[in-house]
């Protein structure tokens, strides 16, 4: 959806616990979704992606869940570590024409703070 950027939601998690970061997307026609991690002073870094024909995808310590019925995406991080502290963005890709052009929209972002 539209990014407002006025206030970044913050999630504080104890080291070793699991983290769940949520994202609501806006376009039911979006067919590809990505989670990015952004550390201070750096660009967003790809974590995991999922296509609309799937509802779950697992990576190393991360799982993405997609619920197309309610247009909701979540990122689960297992055994959260201090190095996971960052801002996490979801992004949705919506195809706009048969020529392969997609409209990419980033969410507002969620700041994850890991408490040692």
């Amino acid at each position: 959806g539209e990014s407002v950027g006025l206030h970044l939601p913050t999630l504080s998690v104890q080291e070793g616990d699991n983290s769940i970061i949520n994202c609501a997307y806006s376009n039911s026609a979006s067919d590809y979704f990505i989670w990015y991690k952004q550390e201070s002073g750096k660009g967003p870094q790809f974590i995991i992606d999922i296509r609309s024909n799937m509802d779950k995808r697992q990576g190393q310590r991360v799982t993405v869940l997609l619920n197309k019925t309610v247009k909701h995406l979540s990122l689960q991080i297992a055994a959260t570590q201090p190095g996971d502290s960052a801002v996490y963005f979801c992004a949705e890709n919506m195809p706009l024409n048969s020529g392969g052009y997609q409209k990419v929209t980033f969410g507002t972002g969620t700041k994850l703070q890991v408490i040692p």
Binding site: S3, G5, D31, G43, Y101, V104
Partner: protein, 116 residues
């Protein structure tokens, strides 16, 4: 690992001056994106190139901003004349889009621009 390279990393200049930001996309990628990130607006798409052709620059102020790809290894974003409200971090990202579907974008570490 292949990386998107952006130069300069930091730029401070006075209003009215021309600013040129450069990006070297990952070799073999056929899409290039320019984004602007601010605290107020979050991550905004400015321009999108596919196979060096501009497909979408609707997010870019046309009167002062211009984006080009002189060749496959270089993308540029120019602001002339610059204004204090242009102060932000500008990110370039590259990706690969083809018949197999979309792939995640890979971001550079950005140019932090301050217009005095």
């Amino acid at each position: 690992d292949a990386r998107v390279t952006q130069t300069p990393r930091h730029k401070v200049t006075e209003m009215g001056q021309e600013v040129t930001m450069r990006c070297q996309p990952i070799l073999g990628h056929n899409t290039v994106f320019w984004y602007r990130q601010t605290m107020m607006q979050g991550l905004e798409l400015l321009a999108y190139f596919r196979n060096r052709a501009p497909l979408d620059d609707s997010g870019m102020p046309k009167d002062r901003f211009s984006a080009e790809m002189p060749d496959a290894t270089l993308a540029t974003l120019k602001i002339q004349p610059s204004e204090p409200r242009d102060s932000a971090v500008y990110f370039c990202a590259s990706g690969l889009t083809g018949r197999t579907g979309n792939q995640p974008q890979h971001f550079g570490d950005g140019t932090r621009l301050s217009i005095l």
